[in-house]
Symmetry: C3
Subunit: 152 residues, 3 copies
């Protein structure tokens, strides 16, 4: 089954790819690697999950925020490649979690993105990963994700 078909089967509609607000672009390809810009939990151009885990948001909300952020990242991939079916492999995901002091469950939050990658891409979606705590993120986003993909 193609990744696009899997997405449809899961009932997922990707959002519009968020527009960069500066002189950078959503993705750059070098050889067969696609490097994505960081993105966040946007919906219709607005941040849906703001603030810090451990203070403003529960782990469950953080999980949903990571899932939504991944959908934005995939929208950027589709915009760049035309279709998700040109993804060969998800190489690495880095997840930055805006964290109040003492919050240490970043992995459980970033699972919202990791789980969805495997649901959509299967074995090709199994990725290397970093989960990190951030003092504060741009625009007060709760989550910022960065992806490196292998594409054809």
């Amino acid at each position: 089954m193609s990744f696009e078909a899997k997405l449809a089967e899961l009932g997922i509609t990707l959002p519009l790819a968020p527009k960069p607000v500066a002189t950078y672009i959503p993705a750059v390809r070098a050889g067969d690697l696609l490097f994505l810009s960081g993105t966040g939990p946007f919906k219709d151009g607005a941040i849906v999950y703001a603030g810090k885990l451990g203070k403003d948001l529960t782990v469950e909300q953080g999980y949903e925020a990571a899932r939504l952020t991944l959908l934005n990242a995939l929208a950027m991939v589709r915009q760049e490649l035309g279709t998700l079916d040109r993804v060969t492999r998800v190489v690495r995901l880095t997840g930055h979690v805006a964290s109040a002091d003492g919050f240490t469950q970043q992995p459980a939050v970033i699972n919202g993105a990791s789980d969805l990658l495997v649901q959509i891409f299967g074995e090709a979606g199994r990725h290397a990963r970093l989960a990190l705590g951030a003092a504060v993120l741009p625009l007060n986003m709760a989550i910022e994700l960065e992806l490196i993909l292998q594409v054809h």
Copy 2:
């Protein structure tokens, strides 16, 4: 116009490449990708912009700090390759901004580096980007940048 000629036209003189203070090196090439070490707003070996955005520095000063940091990064590229003209593409820029709690304008700060990349490299300078807030950076630098370039 070559990138070196563009640099001269812009009236920019690159600083001396900052020396790593440990057992790492400024840049490593793997295939046609050049991975740079992190660097900061150095001038003549000293940090020019110290402290945190949102407390010690204005966004305008942060923008200048990001621009200066990029010049240091480009000095490292020229030292490694001999000339900026061997840059094929700027692939990804990651900008870490030392941020006081509540400061969320990291993108406006990192634009100081992004804008200059496009001024110098034109279309080849359009890059994927992450802007991140950091609680604190090495040597109390206000900015730390990391670059991945495609080179020939």
Copy 3:
């Protein structure tokens, strides 16, 4: 001398590779690049160095934590490749240091990993590097390391 032989000469036994606690995997290879997941100062499945530099741990303890974290990362490399001797080059090390406000000696801490890379891999171990301060890291780890290697 092979890297494995060098490891033995240094009297180093790698720990068991830490198990990811979610739907990600320890390492993904794309072409000749190997991207590792982030890891920390684990021993027998438990975090040995917890808390923040500048508050809970000295620079010397941080150095040891970075060294131990690197051993875990190398265990992941060996698990993935069968042997460290398939490493062509250490490309880039990123070191995240959980840091109390005002702690700015992240480079001295990450040297615990950088020094060991050069001891084991010699010239092939000389890497590009970022040292970063983090407000808080997953599981309250003091250190999180991420590696990109060139392999054959």
